[in-house]
């Protein structure tokens, strides 16, 4: 079964170049996150005033910032923090959202309707503002960025799991599972959730990109991560001061890093849809 899935995944990737590129992009990203500090050519925090604000060159691939720190090294080192925040936040909301949503969607009735409405309302709320307020309230720390991002992600998963379970709850095979002696909760956990997971994995991949943007946005406005810690959002914020004087690399490279990371996750999400759909398996 597992090897069949793998073989199927490879087969899909061969037919779908874009997904293959995105997948390798994600692998590269993860590798950088793990290896970042050891492959960075310079110390990301060491400043050197004589080399401040140098444009990109062979020596400094992405130029240097106002303190003479090598932007490229800082980009590499920052990957770990950005990725960890996003993965942790999405992981928490994925697990919670899937379980809450699946049980509500299966149970139906009044509880389900009110949860559904609450989630809809919450989704329409300016979530970035909510995250901002939460970080402010809980304290300006990285853990709280994770918590805030997890909470604003939660409605997406709850709603998704709820909708997916809802369309399946009256299908023959679900009732058949009950006729075969399964209790309600095992129907949800052992039958419905596994069937819903592929679709949710797609959502998860898409949301990872969104979570990265959110966390970067929060640190851009000065919440969460503090300088001099290298983080893509902060690097953009620091570079913003020099954009009017034409120091484009300070914004463009961290921006590019953010964009590529998000793009890879989004494309991977689209590709996952094909891989995990058992109907595509031959």
């Amino acid at each position: 079964m597992a090897s069949a899935t793998l073989r199927h995944a490879l087969w899909i990737l061969r037919g779908n170049r874009l997904t293959a590129v995105a997948t390798s992009g994600v692998f590269v990203l993860v590798a950088i996150a793990i290896l970042g500090p050891s492959i960075a050519p310079y110390d990301p925090i060491a400043s050197s005033v004589s080399e401040a604000l140098l444009p990109p060159s062979l020596l400094h691939l992405a130029g240097t910032d106002q303190l003479g720190r090598d932007t490229f090294s800082r980009l590499l080192v920052a990957a770990r923090l950005d990725l960890v925040i996003a993965v942790a936040a999405v992981g928490i909301s994925f697990v919670l959202g899937a379980i809450i949503g699946a049980f509500c969607g299966y149970a139906g009735g009044r509880l389900d309707r009110s949860v559904g409405r609450f989630v809809d309302v919450m989704m329409a709320f300016p979530l970035f503002v909510l995250a901002m307020a939460m970080v402010a309230a809980l304290g300006n720390r990285v853990e709280n960025i994770v918590i805030a991002t997890a909470i604003i992600n939660l409605p997406f998963y709850t709603r998704f799991a709820r909708a997916e379970v809802n369309v399946r709850r009256n299908l023959g095979w679900v009732e058949a599972a009950r006729a075969s002696g399964e209790s309600h909760s095992s129907v949800v956990l052992r039958f419905l959730l596994p069937n819903v997971l592929p679709a949710m994995a797609v959502q998860m991949s898409l949301n990872l990109g969104w979570a990265i943007l959110n966390a970067a946005g929060l640190s851009f406005i000065g919440l969460g991560v503090r300088p001099p810690t290298p983080e893509w959002g902060i690097m953009v914020a620091e570079g913003a001061r020099f954009i009017s004087t034409g120091k484009w690399w300070l914004v463009a490279f961290p921006g590019l890093a953010l964009m590529l990371a998000v793009l890879c996750f989004n494309l991977l999400g689209d590709g996952l849809r094909d891989i995990l759909d058992p109907r595509m398996r031959t």
């Binding site: 299908l171 023959g172 095979w173 009732e175 058949a176 009950r178 006729a179 399964e182 039958f191 058992p278």
Partner: protein, 557 residues
């Protein structure tokens, strides 16, 4: 014969799919005379609808006419550019579709939709078009047409929507009407009304009609000539009488045999050559001994009712009994509460009130939530309607059949389990090598067999069948029905057969219960009930079923 209105010559239609081009229609030739009603019959995948859509150029973008000609009044319309074809749409030929509610624009009033169609071909004021639309609503016999002009499709019943659809289709007096499964999905009484209306309008306006349907009986009742298609080819063309009594082609023979009529018996569902085999199986079954007197009935349902928060009760005051090995039919139109009743008897949902005795023992006191722990869980099993939806897409056929054995018979994975699953598969005629497949790799009939094998795996004593063949083609239905009947005889299995198809119930069931709006209208021995209905409603139901034998081919050929 006069010059045909429509002549299709050697039509080929190809669809481009991911796995290369697929030919859906391979060389169909047929013609329709002005004013004639032609039946185009076939099972799913026969290419009957594709032929219709190719004629009106409404194929979806992946499909195209790869060769052949379609002559409308002598002119080859496959050569007309798209822009000019619009003049033909509606004015020369129009279509009626399956699922009428989806076929109408949900956010535009039906009056405007009819007027749109009129205005696209005639120059007149909006007011005049609205007047015309009103006349058309009258013509299709919609009650309160003035009021209905401003109604939206969701405010009308399915039958009403189909009448509106007919009004739209005939609004510009086309010479040819193509009706694609116009009554599939409608209740049998509605089906009759709509078909009568359609036939009446076509006759009154001298409109030629092609009736595309999977229902041989329906085509036979309304059409003077029937064309049978199989796998994109036309296999036989004949007046219905000849088609039924002297089918020539092997496929037609099987199709005719498999279509249940009022008088058919289960063994009749296959062609003469195959019948002997089935009779031999029947003969091998030992007759079950009569249970000793005083044995409680297998199932005794008393005053069952189900109420939801709002609206009338879904089921009320439902009582019935069943003996071991007996088959009882539960018939009714949509909304009659037959599905709710079947779920309550299966103990998948709770009844609001009433008593269910199984073997004389009450099983209704245990809530449905807890019933999976009851020792009777394995005695009552169910087969679901749509085989496509009744198997877990992540389970192989083997897993599906093994699941109840693991849960209810407490078997452990191993050789014993494998042997038992294979035995079940063999009993339902499922080849062993298919057991490792996932549902999407099985055909509809194979999935239905897996569903039945799963239900009988734990040797239940009562099997509830919820429209088990409604989603199947008739030839597959025939095989499944024979299988179920055989299992009943072999295992002394009681069958509660929930269905809307009266011919099937009459054939399969010793007794029949007719439900309407959650209440029992009539109950009794099947043949007596159908031959001599006691209530007006049952009589209406029985008469609405297209009957090849009864219609006597009154349509002049």
């Amino acid at each position: 014969m006069t010059e045909p209105l429509l002549r299709i010559e050697d039509l080929h239609v190809t669809f481009s799919t991911r796995s290369g081009p697929v030919e859906a229609v391979r060389g169909v030739t047929l013609s329709v005379a002005p004013g004639e009603m032609l039946g185009l019959v076939g099972e799913s995948g026969s290419g009957k609808s594709v032929t219709g859509f190719a004629t009106t150029r409404l194929l979806d973008p992946a499909g195209r006419v790869s060769s052949g000609r379609i002559l409308y009044r002598g002119q080859d319309i496959t050569k007309i550019p798209d822009g000019d074809f619009r003049a033909l749409h509606g004015a020369a030929m129009s279509m009626i579709f399956q699922n009428p509610r989806a076929a109408l624009n949900p956010i535009r009033s039906v009056g405007l939709q009819i007027a749109d169609a009129i205005l696209s071909h005639k120059r007149m004021s909006k007011q005049a078009a609205a007047d015309e639309a009103l006349k058309l609503l009258r013509a299709v016999q919609i009650r309160d047409p003035e009021k209905r002009m401003s109604a939206y499709p969701h405010e009308l019943s399915g039958g009403m929507c189909q009448r509106v659809m007919i009004a739209v289709a005939i609004s510009c007096n086309p010479m040819l009407l193509i009706a694609d499964e116009p009554t599939t999905g409608l209740d049998v009484t509605t089906q009759k009304v709509v078909m009568d209306l359609l036939a009446g309008i076509a006759a009154a306006r001298g409109m030629a009609t092609i009736l595309i349907t999977h229902d041989l009986g329906l085509a036979a009742q309304y059409c003077a000539r029937v064309v049978v298609m199989e796998k994109g080819r036309l296999v036989e063309e004949a007046p219905p009488a000849r088609l039924f009594h002297h089918p020539q082609h092997a496929y037609t023979k099987r199709l005719v045999a498999a279509s249940p009529t009022a008088s058919s018996r289960i063994e009749d569902l296959v062609t003469d050559e195959e019948r002997g085999q089935y009779l031999a199986v029947l003969a091998a079954c030992k007759p079950q001994p009569e249970p000793p007197a005083g044995t409680p009935p297998l199932l005794d349902v008393r005053n069952l009712a189900k109420r939801y928060d709002q609206g009338a009760p879904a089921v009320s005051n439902f009582s019935m009994t069943m003996k071991a090995g007996e088959s009882v039919g539960l018939v009714g139109e949509s909304g009659s509460g037959k599905t709710t009743t079947s779920r309550m008897i299966c103990r998948l949902i709770d009844a609001s009130e009433g008593e269910i005795l199984f073997d004389g023992e009450s099983i209704a006191h245990l809530p449905a939530r807890e019933f999976h722990r009851s020792p009777h869980r394995k005695d009552i099993q169910i087969v679901f309607q749509d085989p496509n939806e009744s198997l877990n897409p992540r389970f192989t056929a083997f897993d599906c059949i093994a699941h109840p054995l693991l849960r209810l018979s407490r078997m452990r994975p191993g050789d014993a389990l494998r042997q038992r699953v294979e035995e079940c598969a063999a009993r339902v005629g499922l080849p062993i090598d298919l057991l490792s497949r996932f549902p999407h790799q099985l055909s509809g009939g194979q999935k239905a067999r897996v569903g039945i094998a799963r239900a009988i795996a734990c040797r239940p004593r009562l099997l509830v069948l919820d429209e088990p063949t409604a989603a199947l083609d008739v030839s597959v239905q025939a095989v499944v029905l024979q299988l179920l009947d055989r299992l009943r005889r072999e295992d002394c299995l009681a069958l509660l057969f929930v269905s809307h198809d009266l011919n099937v119930v009459r054939m399969m069931c010793d007794r029949t219960i007719v439900l309407r709006s959650g209440e029992i209208v009539e109950a009794g021995e099947s043949r007596a009930l159908f031959d001599n209905p006691q209530t007006e409603y049952t009589r209406e139901l029985v008469e609405a079923v297209p009957q090849v034998d009864r219609c006597g081919f009154s349509v002049q050929s």
